[in-house]
Protein backbone atom coordinates (compact mmCIF):
# COMPACT_ATOMS: atom_id res chain seq x y z
CA UNK A 1 0.00 0.00 0.00
CA UNK A 2 2.65 2.65 0.88
CA UNK A 3 4.35 2.08 -2.47
CA UNK A 4 1.13 2.83 -4.28
CA UNK A 5 0.38 6.16 -2.61
CA UNK A 6 0.42 8.82 -5.29
CA UNK A 7 -1.10 11.81 -3.48
CA UNK A 8 0.82 14.83 -2.20
CA UNK A 9 3.20 13.84 0.61
CA UNK A 10 4.19 16.49 3.17
CA UNK A 11 7.86 17.41 3.48
CA UNK A 12 8.48 18.58 7.06
CA UNK A 13 10.28 21.74 8.11
CA UNK A 14 12.33 21.80 11.32
CA UNK A 15 9.41 23.37 13.18
CA UNK A 16 6.84 20.88 11.87
CA UNK A 17 8.89 17.66 12.08
CA UNK A 18 7.70 16.69 15.59
CA UNK A 19 4.11 16.92 14.36
CA UNK A 20 4.75 14.52 11.53
CA UNK A 21 6.86 12.20 13.68
CA UNK A 22 3.97 11.92 16.12
CA UNK A 23 1.49 11.41 13.31
CA UNK A 24 3.65 8.52 12.15
CA UNK A 25 2.99 6.98 15.60
CA UNK A 26 -0.72 7.76 15.11
CA UNK A 27 -0.63 10.44 17.76
CA UNK A 28 -2.01 13.94 17.22
CA UNK A 29 0.30 16.43 18.92
CA UNK A 30 0.20 20.19 18.65
CA UNK A 31 2.49 23.02 19.64
CA UNK A 32 1.50 24.56 22.97
CA UNK A 33 2.64 28.04 23.95
CA UNK A 34 3.59 28.05 27.61
CA UNK A 35 3.43 31.85 27.68
CA UNK A 36 -0.17 31.99 26.39
CA UNK A 37 -1.21 28.66 27.83
CA UNK A 38 -2.82 27.73 24.53
CA UNK A 39 -2.40 25.40 21.58
CA UNK A 40 -2.02 26.64 18.03
CA UNK A 41 -1.85 25.19 14.54
CA UNK A 42 -0.10 25.00 12.08
CA UNK A 43 3.22 24.44 13.86
CA UNK A 44 5.54 27.45 13.87
CA UNK A 45 8.73 28.42 15.66
CA UNK A 46 6.88 31.33 17.29
CA UNK A 47 3.46 31.51 18.87
CA UNK A 48 1.14 33.40 16.47
CA UNK A 49 -0.61 35.01 19.44
CA UNK A 50 2.35 36.36 21.43
CA UNK A 51 5.45 35.51 19.32
CA UNK A 52 6.94 33.56 22.22
CA UNK A 53 9.39 30.79 21.46
CA UNK A 54 8.57 28.97 24.73
CA UNK A 55 6.77 26.09 23.08
CA UNK A 56 6.06 22.48 23.95
CA UNK A 57 4.57 19.60 22.02
CA UNK A 58 1.51 18.15 23.71
CA UNK A 59 -0.74 15.35 22.66
CA UNK A 60 -4.39 16.28 22.16
CA UNK A 61 -7.58 14.25 22.34
CA UNK A 62 -8.09 13.88 18.61
CA UNK A 63 -11.71 14.86 19.07
CA UNK A 64 -13.39 17.85 17.57
CA UNK A 65 -16.28 19.14 15.54
CA UNK A 66 -16.89 19.73 11.86
CA UNK A 67 -16.38 23.44 11.19
CA UNK A 68 -17.09 23.48 7.45
CA UNK A 69 -16.65 21.23 4.42
CA UNK A 70 -16.92 20.84 0.69
CA UNK A 71 -17.66 17.77 -1.37
CA UNK A 72 -15.05 17.69 -4.10
CA UNK A 73 -16.21 16.26 -7.41
CA UNK A 74 -13.12 17.16 -9.34
CA UNK A 75 -9.97 16.40 -7.37
CA UNK A 76 -6.31 16.34 -8.32
CA UNK A 77 -5.11 13.60 -10.64
CA UNK A 78 -3.89 10.56 -8.73
CA UNK A 79 -5.49 11.75 -5.49
CA UNK A 80 -5.97 8.59 -3.42
CA UNK A 81 -9.52 9.29 -2.33
CA UNK A 82 -11.99 8.75 -5.17
CA UNK A 83 -14.21 11.73 -5.97
CA UNK A 84 -16.53 12.78 -4.55
CA UNK A 85 -14.62 13.12 -1.29
CA UNK A 86 -15.12 15.37 1.71
CA UNK A 87 -12.53 18.09 2.31
CA UNK A 88 -13.17 19.42 5.78
CA UNK A 89 -12.11 21.84 8.45
CA UNK A 90 -12.21 20.44 11.95
CA UNK A 91 -12.09 22.46 15.14
CA UNK A 92 -10.42 20.38 17.83
CA UNK A 93 -11.76 20.32 21.38
CA UNK A 94 -8.49 22.03 22.37
CA UNK A 95 -9.25 24.96 20.05
CA UNK A 96 -7.04 24.81 16.97
CA UNK A 97 -8.46 24.03 13.55
CA UNK A 98 -7.00 21.84 10.87
CA UNK A 99 -7.79 20.82 7.34
CA UNK A 100 -8.49 17.15 6.81
CA UNK A 101 -10.62 14.60 5.02
CA UNK A 102 -13.80 13.38 6.61
CA UNK A 103 -14.08 9.67 5.88
CA UNK A 104 -16.48 6.86 6.75
CA UNK A 105 -19.41 9.07 5.81
CA UNK A 106 -21.53 9.33 2.67
CA UNK A 107 -20.35 12.35 0.67
CA UNK A 108 -23.84 13.85 0.67
CA UNK A 109 -24.67 17.37 1.90
CA UNK A 110 -27.57 16.10 3.99
CA UNK A 111 -25.30 13.64 5.84
CA UNK A 112 -22.94 16.37 6.94
CA UNK A 113 -23.84 18.77 9.71
CA UNK A 114 -21.74 21.69 10.86
CA UNK A 115 -20.79 20.94 14.46
CA UNK A 116 -21.05 17.16 14.16
CA UNK A 117 -18.53 15.39 16.44
CA UNK A 118 -15.57 13.80 14.74
CA UNK A 119 -12.44 11.92 15.81
CA UNK A 120 -9.02 11.46 14.28
CA UNK A 121 -7.83 8.34 12.49
CA UNK A 122 -4.51 8.04 10.73
CA UNK A 123 -3.71 6.86 7.22
CA UNK A 124 -0.16 5.76 6.57
CA UNK A 125 1.09 6.95 3.22
CA UNK A 126 4.72 5.82 3.46
CA UNK A 127 7.28 4.82 6.10
CA UNK A 128 7.56 8.37 7.40
CA UNK A 129 4.20 10.06 6.95
CA UNK A 130 0.78 9.35 8.35
CA UNK A 131 -2.06 11.72 7.55
CA UNK A 132 -4.68 12.66 10.15
CA UNK A 133 -8.13 12.00 8.72
CA UNK A 134 -11.32 12.33 10.72
CA UNK A 135 -14.50 10.26 10.92
CA UNK A 136 -17.85 10.78 12.62
CA UNK A 137 -17.68 10.06 16.32
CA UNK A 138 -20.61 8.29 17.94
CA UNK A 139 -19.70 9.34 21.49
CA UNK A 140 -21.55 12.66 21.51
Amino acid sequence: MPDEYRGPIPVPLPETRPYWEAARRHELTLPFCTACGAFFFYPRAACPTCLSGALEWRRVSGRGRLLTFTIVYRGPRDFPLPAPYVLAMVELDEGPRLMTNLIDVEPEPERLEIGMPVEVTFVDVNDEIGLPHFRPEARR
Binding site: L13, T70, M89, M99, H133
Partner: protein, 389 residues
Protein backbone atom coordinates in the same frame (compact mmCIF):
# COMPACT_ATOMS: atom_id res chain seq x y z
CA UNK B 1 -2.55 56.68 10.52
CA UNK B 2 -5.55 58.50 11.84
CA UNK B 3 -8.73 58.89 9.85
CA UNK B 4 -8.19 62.65 9.77
CA UNK B 5 -4.74 62.23 8.27
CA UNK B 6 -6.01 59.83 5.65
CA UNK B 7 -8.92 62.13 4.89
CA UNK B 8 -6.39 64.74 3.82
CA UNK B 9 -5.19 62.34 1.12
CA UNK B 10 -8.64 62.29 -0.46
CA UNK B 11 -8.56 63.53 -4.01
CA UNK B 12 -4.84 64.31 -3.97
CA UNK B 13 -4.05 61.91 -6.83
CA UNK B 14 -5.93 60.80 -9.89
CA UNK B 15 -6.05 58.00 -12.42
CA UNK B 16 -5.21 59.67 -15.71
CA UNK B 17 -4.90 56.66 -17.98
CA UNK B 18 -6.49 53.20 -18.06
CA UNK B 19 -6.49 50.45 -20.64
CA UNK B 20 -6.38 46.73 -21.26
CA UNK B 21 -4.27 44.64 -23.58
CA UNK B 22 -5.29 44.72 -27.26
CA UNK B 23 -6.90 41.30 -26.85
CA UNK B 24 -8.40 39.39 -23.95
CA UNK B 25 -9.33 35.74 -23.85
CA UNK B 26 -7.36 32.76 -25.11
CA UNK B 27 -4.04 34.14 -26.34
CA UNK B 28 -1.43 31.40 -26.76
CA UNK B 29 0.52 33.73 -29.07
CA UNK B 30 1.26 36.23 -26.28
CA UNK B 31 3.41 35.88 -23.18
CA UNK B 32 2.48 37.32 -19.80
CA UNK B 33 5.13 40.03 -20.19
CA UNK B 34 3.86 40.88 -23.66
CA UNK B 35 0.44 41.46 -22.12
CA UNK B 36 2.00 43.73 -19.45
CA UNK B 37 3.71 45.79 -22.13
CA UNK B 38 0.67 45.98 -24.37
CA UNK B 39 -1.54 47.20 -21.54
CA UNK B 40 1.10 49.70 -20.40
CA UNK B 41 1.47 51.07 -23.93
CA UNK B 42 -2.28 51.51 -24.23
CA UNK B 43 -2.70 53.10 -20.80
CA UNK B 44 0.15 55.56 -21.36
CA UNK B 45 -1.30 56.53 -24.73
CA UNK B 46 -4.67 57.02 -23.03
CA UNK B 47 -2.98 59.29 -20.49
CA UNK B 48 -1.14 61.31 -23.11
CA UNK B 49 2.16 60.30 -21.56
CA UNK B 50 5.16 58.23 -22.64
CA UNK B 51 7.19 55.64 -20.82
CA UNK B 52 9.89 58.26 -20.33
CA UNK B 53 7.46 60.08 -18.04
CA UNK B 54 7.12 57.04 -15.77
CA UNK B 55 9.33 57.09 -12.68
CA UNK B 56 7.30 54.77 -10.46
CA UNK B 57 6.50 51.16 -11.36
CA UNK B 58 3.97 49.06 -9.47
CA UNK B 59 3.44 45.40 -10.34
CA UNK B 60 1.86 42.45 -8.59
CA UNK B 61 2.99 39.58 -10.73
CA UNK B 62 4.85 36.56 -9.52
CA UNK B 63 8.05 38.17 -10.76
CA UNK B 64 10.07 41.01 -9.36
CA UNK B 65 8.50 44.31 -10.40
CA UNK B 66 11.92 45.27 -11.70
CA UNK B 67 11.76 42.46 -14.24
CA UNK B 68 8.56 43.91 -15.67
CA UNK B 69 10.29 47.31 -15.78
CA UNK B 70 13.27 45.78 -17.57
CA UNK B 71 11.01 44.17 -20.18
CA UNK B 72 9.48 47.55 -20.93
CA UNK B 73 12.79 49.39 -20.80
CA UNK B 74 11.73 51.57 -17.89
CA UNK B 75 14.22 52.73 -15.25
CA UNK B 76 12.00 53.40 -12.25
CA UNK B 77 13.17 55.33 -9.20
CA UNK B 78 10.28 53.98 -7.17
CA UNK B 79 9.49 50.26 -7.27
CA UNK B 80 6.68 48.37 -5.58
CA UNK B 81 6.06 44.68 -6.15
CA UNK B 82 3.37 44.09 -3.54
CA UNK B 83 1.72 40.74 -4.11
CA UNK B 84 -1.41 40.00 -2.06
CA UNK B 85 -3.37 38.26 -4.80
CA UNK B 86 -5.96 39.64 -7.17
CA UNK B 87 -6.67 42.75 -5.12
CA UNK B 88 -3.04 43.81 -5.29
CA UNK B 89 -3.92 46.46 -7.84
CA UNK B 90 -6.30 48.31 -5.55
CA UNK B 91 -3.60 48.17 -2.88
CA UNK B 92 -1.03 49.43 -5.38
CA UNK B 93 -3.24 52.46 -6.05
CA UNK B 94 -2.99 53.23 -2.34
CA UNK B 95 0.78 52.75 -2.46
CA UNK B 96 1.07 54.92 -5.58
CA UNK B 97 -0.98 57.59 -3.85
CA UNK B 98 1.48 57.61 -0.96
CA UNK B 99 4.48 57.82 -3.29
CA UNK B 100 2.94 60.57 -5.41
CA UNK B 101 1.79 62.59 -2.41
CA UNK B 102 5.26 62.53 -0.85
CA UNK B 103 6.96 63.32 -4.13
CA UNK B 104 8.86 60.04 -4.24
CA UNK B 105 7.56 59.62 -7.77
CA UNK B 106 5.64 61.79 -10.19
CA UNK B 107 4.04 59.37 -12.62
CA UNK B 108 3.01 55.94 -11.38
CA UNK B 109 2.39 53.05 -13.77
CA UNK B 110 0.52 50.02 -12.40
CA UNK B 111 0.54 47.10 -14.81
CA UNK B 112 -0.89 43.61 -14.99
CA UNK B 113 -0.24 40.87 -17.50
CA UNK B 114 -1.12 37.23 -16.98
CA UNK B 115 -1.31 34.23 -19.22
CA UNK B 116 -3.70 32.54 -16.85
CA UNK B 117 -5.24 30.25 -19.45
CA UNK B 118 -2.46 29.56 -21.95
CA UNK B 119 0.34 29.68 -19.35
CA UNK B 120 2.81 31.30 -21.74
CA UNK B 121 5.82 32.78 -19.96
CA UNK B 122 4.38 32.15 -16.53
CA UNK B 123 6.50 31.20 -13.51
CA UNK B 124 6.01 27.88 -11.73
CA UNK B 125 4.13 27.30 -8.54
CA UNK B 126 4.67 29.53 -5.52
CA UNK B 127 4.34 26.61 -3.13
CA UNK B 128 7.32 24.41 -2.38
CA UNK B 129 6.96 20.84 -1.04
CA UNK B 130 7.69 22.00 2.52
CA UNK B 131 5.27 24.96 2.37
CA UNK B 132 2.29 25.16 4.68
CA UNK B 133 0.05 24.52 1.69
CA UNK B 134 1.81 21.31 0.70
CA UNK B 135 2.14 20.03 4.25
CA UNK B 136 -1.22 20.85 5.76
CA UNK B 137 -3.72 21.41 2.94
CA UNK B 138 -2.93 19.71 -0.34
CA UNK B 139 -2.54 16.22 1.18
CA UNK B 140 -6.29 16.37 1.84
CA UNK B 141 -7.25 17.24 -1.70
CA UNK B 142 -7.40 21.01 -1.56
CA UNK B 143 -7.29 21.44 -5.30
CA UNK B 144 -7.22 24.82 -6.95
CA UNK B 145 -9.38 27.72 -5.88
CA UNK B 146 -12.86 26.08 -6.08
CA UNK B 147 -12.27 23.72 -3.17
CA UNK B 148 -11.06 26.52 -0.91
CA UNK B 149 -13.89 28.90 -1.75
CA UNK B 150 -16.43 26.12 -1.35
CA UNK B 151 -15.43 25.82 2.32
CA UNK B 152 -16.62 29.39 2.84
CA UNK B 153 -19.70 28.93 0.66
CA UNK B 154 -20.81 25.95 2.76
CA UNK B 155 -20.25 27.86 5.99
CA UNK B 156 -22.20 30.85 4.70
CA UNK B 157 -25.10 28.75 3.43
CA UNK B 158 -25.37 26.67 6.58
CA UNK B 159 -25.07 29.65 8.92
CA UNK B 160 -27.25 32.14 7.09
CA UNK B 161 -29.45 30.10 4.80
CA UNK B 162 -27.91 31.47 1.62
CA UNK B 163 -29.10 29.35 -1.31
CA UNK B 164 -27.58 28.05 -4.53
CA UNK B 165 -30.40 29.86 -6.34
CA UNK B 166 -29.27 33.19 -4.89
CA UNK B 167 -25.70 32.54 -5.98
CA UNK B 168 -26.96 31.57 -9.43
CA UNK B 169 -28.92 34.82 -9.65
CA UNK B 170 -25.69 36.72 -9.24
CA UNK B 171 -24.13 34.78 -12.12
CA UNK B 172 -27.19 35.52 -14.29
CA UNK B 173 -27.21 39.25 -13.50
CA UNK B 174 -23.50 39.45 -14.23
CA UNK B 175 -24.02 37.68 -17.54
CA UNK B 176 -26.62 40.26 -18.47
CA UNK B 177 -23.95 42.95 -18.21
CA UNK B 178 -21.63 40.84 -20.36
CA UNK B 179 -24.32 40.62 -23.01
CA UNK B 180 -23.95 44.41 -23.33
CA UNK B 181 -20.14 44.29 -23.58
CA UNK B 182 -18.68 43.28 -26.95
CA UNK B 183 -15.33 42.41 -25.34
CA UNK B 184 -16.84 39.91 -22.91
CA UNK B 185 -15.90 36.29 -23.38
CA UNK B 186 -19.30 34.83 -22.40
CA UNK B 187 -22.26 36.69 -23.92
CA UNK B 188 -24.97 34.06 -24.36
CA UNK B 189 -28.01 34.58 -22.14
CA UNK B 190 -27.93 32.49 -18.98
CA UNK B 191 -30.65 31.26 -16.62
CA UNK B 192 -30.65 30.28 -12.96
CA UNK B 193 -31.62 26.75 -13.96
CA UNK B 194 -28.61 26.51 -16.28
CA UNK B 195 -26.27 27.55 -13.48
CA UNK B 196 -27.80 24.99 -11.14
CA UNK B 197 -27.65 22.29 -13.82
CA UNK B 198 -23.97 22.89 -14.56
CA UNK B 199 -21.77 20.22 -13.08
CA UNK B 200 -20.72 20.41 -9.47
CA UNK B 201 -17.02 21.19 -9.10
CA UNK B 202 -16.83 21.37 -5.32
CA UNK B 203 -20.22 21.32 -3.64
CA UNK B 204 -21.89 23.78 -3.20
CA UNK B 205 -20.15 25.44 -6.18
CA UNK B 206 -21.15 24.57 -9.74
CA UNK B 207 -19.09 25.22 -12.84
CA UNK B 208 -21.07 28.38 -13.56
CA UNK B 209 -20.45 29.66 -10.04
CA UNK B 210 -16.77 29.83 -11.03
CA UNK B 211 -14.98 32.56 -12.93
CA UNK B 212 -13.42 32.26 -16.35
CA UNK B 213 -9.74 31.51 -16.81
CA UNK B 214 -8.27 33.83 -19.45
CA UNK B 215 -5.20 35.62 -20.74
CA UNK B 216 -4.96 39.39 -20.66
CA UNK B 217 -3.50 42.52 -19.21
CA UNK B 218 -4.43 45.91 -17.92
CA UNK B 219 -2.74 49.06 -16.70
CA UNK B 220 -3.52 52.35 -15.05
CA UNK B 221 -1.47 55.53 -14.80
CA UNK B 222 -1.67 57.87 -11.82
CA UNK B 223 -0.27 61.28 -11.06
CA UNK B 224 -1.04 64.16 -8.75
CA UNK B 225 -4.42 65.79 -9.20
CA UNK B 226 -2.62 69.04 -9.89
CA UNK B 227 -0.72 67.56 -12.83
CA UNK B 228 -3.80 65.65 -13.95
CA UNK B 229 -5.48 68.91 -14.90
CA UNK B 230 -2.96 69.34 -17.72
CA UNK B 231 -3.56 65.88 -19.19
CA UNK B 232 -6.09 65.05 -21.91
CA UNK B 233 -8.47 62.73 -20.08
CA UNK B 234 -10.90 63.74 -17.35
CA UNK B 235 -9.22 62.87 -14.03
CA UNK B 236 -10.64 60.04 -11.97
CA UNK B 237 -9.90 61.10 -8.42
CA UNK B 238 -8.81 58.63 -5.76
CA UNK B 239 -11.16 59.36 -2.88
CA UNK B 240 -10.71 56.41 -0.55
CA UNK B 241 -8.39 53.45 -0.20
CA UNK B 242 -8.02 50.59 2.22
CA UNK B 243 -6.23 47.28 2.42
CA UNK B 244 -5.98 44.43 4.90
CA UNK B 245 -4.78 40.84 5.17
CA UNK B 246 -5.80 38.30 7.77
CA UNK B 247 -4.13 35.12 6.49
CA UNK B 248 -2.89 33.40 3.35
CA UNK B 249 -3.88 29.74 3.63
CA UNK B 250 -7.58 29.00 3.62
CA UNK B 251 -7.26 26.73 6.64
CA UNK B 252 -6.28 29.87 8.58
CA UNK B 253 -9.43 31.82 7.67
CA UNK B 254 -10.63 33.31 10.96
CA UNK B 255 -14.36 32.93 10.24
CA UNK B 256 -15.47 30.91 7.23
CA UNK B 257 -18.79 32.72 6.93
CA UNK B 258 -17.39 36.26 7.11
CA UNK B 259 -14.69 37.97 5.12
CA UNK B 260 -12.82 39.90 7.79
CA UNK B 261 -10.13 41.45 5.57
CA UNK B 262 -12.79 42.93 3.31
CA UNK B 263 -14.54 44.57 6.21
CA UNK B 264 -11.29 46.12 7.42
CA UNK B 265 -10.32 47.38 3.97
CA UNK B 266 -13.74 48.81 3.11
CA UNK B 267 -14.11 50.56 6.45
CA UNK B 268 -10.87 52.39 5.86
CA UNK B 269 -11.79 53.33 2.31
CA UNK B 270 -15.20 54.73 3.23
CA UNK B 271 -13.74 56.57 6.21
CA UNK B 272 -11.14 58.24 4.01
CA UNK B 273 -13.51 59.01 1.15
CA UNK B 274 -16.17 60.52 3.34
CA UNK B 275 -18.90 59.21 1.05
CA UNK B 276 -21.93 57.18 2.07
CA UNK B 277 -22.83 53.78 0.67
CA UNK B 278 -25.83 55.41 -1.00
CA UNK B 279 -23.43 57.67 -2.92
CA UNK B 280 -21.94 54.73 -4.83
CA UNK B 281 -23.25 54.75 -8.40
CA UNK B 282 -21.34 51.76 -9.79
CA UNK B 283 -19.82 48.83 -7.90
CA UNK B 284 -17.12 46.49 -9.15
CA UNK B 285 -16.89 43.57 -6.75
CA UNK B 286 -14.30 40.90 -7.36
CA UNK B 287 -16.18 37.78 -8.44
CA UNK B 288 -13.83 34.83 -8.67
CA UNK B 289 -16.80 32.77 -7.46
CA UNK B 290 -20.42 33.76 -6.91
CA UNK B 291 -19.98 33.55 -3.14
CA UNK B 292 -17.22 36.19 -3.20
CA UNK B 293 -19.29 39.30 -3.99
CA UNK B 294 -22.06 38.04 -1.72
CA UNK B 295 -19.64 38.01 1.20
CA UNK B 296 -17.92 41.15 -0.11
CA UNK B 297 -21.13 43.18 -0.13
CA UNK B 298 -21.77 42.17 3.47
CA UNK B 299 -18.22 42.96 4.52
CA UNK B 300 -18.23 46.33 2.79
CA UNK B 301 -21.40 47.28 4.60
CA UNK B 302 -23.89 47.32 1.73
CA UNK B 303 -25.98 44.83 3.68
CA UNK B 304 -25.79 43.06 7.01
CA UNK B 305 -23.85 39.82 7.52
CA UNK B 306 -25.93 36.98 6.14
CA UNK B 307 -28.05 39.19 3.89
CA UNK B 308 -25.79 39.08 0.83
CA UNK B 309 -27.76 36.31 -0.82
CA UNK B 310 -31.01 38.22 -0.56
CA UNK B 311 -29.23 41.42 -1.61
CA UNK B 312 -28.15 40.02 -4.98
CA UNK B 313 -31.56 38.44 -5.65
CA UNK B 314 -34.26 39.83 -7.88
CA UNK B 315 -31.82 41.21 -10.43
CA UNK B 316 -30.68 44.00 -8.12
CA UNK B 317 -27.15 43.95 -9.57
CA UNK B 318 -28.26 43.45 -13.20
CA UNK B 319 -28.62 46.14 -15.89
CA UNK B 320 -31.57 48.27 -14.85
CA UNK B 321 -31.33 47.05 -11.26
CA UNK B 322 -31.01 49.29 -8.24
CA UNK B 323 -27.36 48.39 -7.65
CA UNK B 324 -25.34 48.22 -10.89
CA UNK B 325 -22.49 45.84 -10.17
CA UNK B 326 -19.78 44.20 -12.27
CA UNK B 327 -20.81 46.20 -15.26
CA UNK B 328 -18.17 44.77 -17.59
CA UNK B 329 -19.51 41.25 -17.03
CA UNK B 330 -17.14 40.49 -14.18
CA UNK B 331 -14.72 37.68 -13.74
CA UNK B 332 -17.65 35.34 -14.23
CA UNK B 333 -18.42 36.40 -17.80
CA UNK B 334 -16.00 39.11 -18.99
CA UNK B 335 -12.45 37.97 -18.27
CA UNK B 336 -10.46 36.57 -15.37
CA UNK B 337 -6.74 36.21 -15.84
CA UNK B 338 -6.07 35.04 -12.31
CA UNK B 339 -5.55 38.45 -10.70
CA UNK B 340 -8.78 40.08 -11.80
CA UNK B 341 -8.57 43.27 -9.73
CA UNK B 342 -6.98 45.34 -12.49
CA UNK B 343 -10.07 44.88 -14.65
CA UNK B 344 -12.31 46.37 -11.97
CA UNK B 345 -10.12 49.49 -12.00
CA UNK B 346 -10.28 49.86 -15.77
CA UNK B 347 -14.05 49.40 -15.80
CA UNK B 348 -14.55 51.92 -12.99
CA UNK B 349 -12.52 54.50 -14.90
CA UNK B 350 -14.53 53.86 -18.06
CA UNK B 351 -17.82 54.19 -16.21
CA UNK B 352 -16.74 57.45 -14.58
CA UNK B 353 -15.67 58.81 -17.97
CA UNK B 354 -18.95 57.75 -19.54
CA UNK B 355 -17.27 55.54 -22.14
CA UNK B 356 -19.30 52.38 -21.68
CA UNK B 357 -21.90 52.61 -24.45
CA UNK B 358 -24.86 50.27 -23.94
CA UNK B 359 -23.68 49.26 -20.46
CA UNK B 360 -23.03 52.81 -19.27
CA UNK B 361 -24.58 53.60 -15.90
CA UNK B 362 -26.21 57.02 -16.22
CA UNK B 363 -24.54 59.87 -14.32
CA UNK B 364 -21.88 57.65 -12.78
CA UNK B 365 -19.95 59.92 -10.43
CA UNK B 366 -18.70 57.61 -7.69
CA UNK B 367 -17.48 54.02 -7.92
CA UNK B 368 -16.20 51.35 -5.60
CA UNK B 369 -13.75 48.63 -6.60
CA UNK B 370 -13.62 45.93 -3.99
CA UNK B 371 -10.91 43.33 -4.31
CA UNK B 372 -10.13 39.83 -3.20
CA UNK B 373 -6.72 38.33 -2.55
CA UNK B 374 -5.91 34.69 -1.98
CA UNK B 375 -8.53 32.62 -0.17
CA UNK B 376 -10.56 35.45 1.38
CA UNK B 377 -7.09 36.29 2.69
CA UNK B 378 -6.57 39.87 1.71
CA UNK B 379 -8.77 42.63 0.47
CA UNK B 380 -8.28 46.10 -0.89
CA UNK B 381 -10.90 48.72 -1.64
CA UNK B 382 -10.78 51.76 -3.87
CA UNK B 383 -13.40 54.50 -4.04
CA UNK B 384 -13.06 56.90 -6.96
CA UNK B 385 -15.01 59.86 -8.21
CA UNK B 386 -15.27 62.44 -10.95
CA UNK B 387 -15.12 65.18 -8.34
CA UNK B 388 -13.56 65.63 -4.92
CA UNK B 389 -16.39 66.13 -2.40
Amino acid sequence: MSAATRRRLRGRVAIVGAAESDELGKLPHKSAFALHAEAARNALADAGLTKQDVDGIFCAGLWMASETAEYMGITPRYIDGTQIGGCSFMALVEHAMAALETGLCEVALITHGESGRSRVGMPGTRFGPDSVRLQFENPFGLYGPPTGYALAATAHMRRYGTTSEQLAELAVSTRQWAELNPRAMMRDPLTVDEVLASRVIAWPLHLLDCCLVTDGGGAVVLTTSERAKDLPRPPVYVLGTGEASTHVYVSQMPDFSNWDAARLAAERAFEMAGVAHADIDVAEFYDAFTIVPVMGLEAAGFCAPGEGGAFVSGGRTAPGGAFPMNTNGGGLSYTHTGMYGMFTLVEAVRQLRGECGPRQVANAKTTICHGLGGMFSASATLICGTEVP
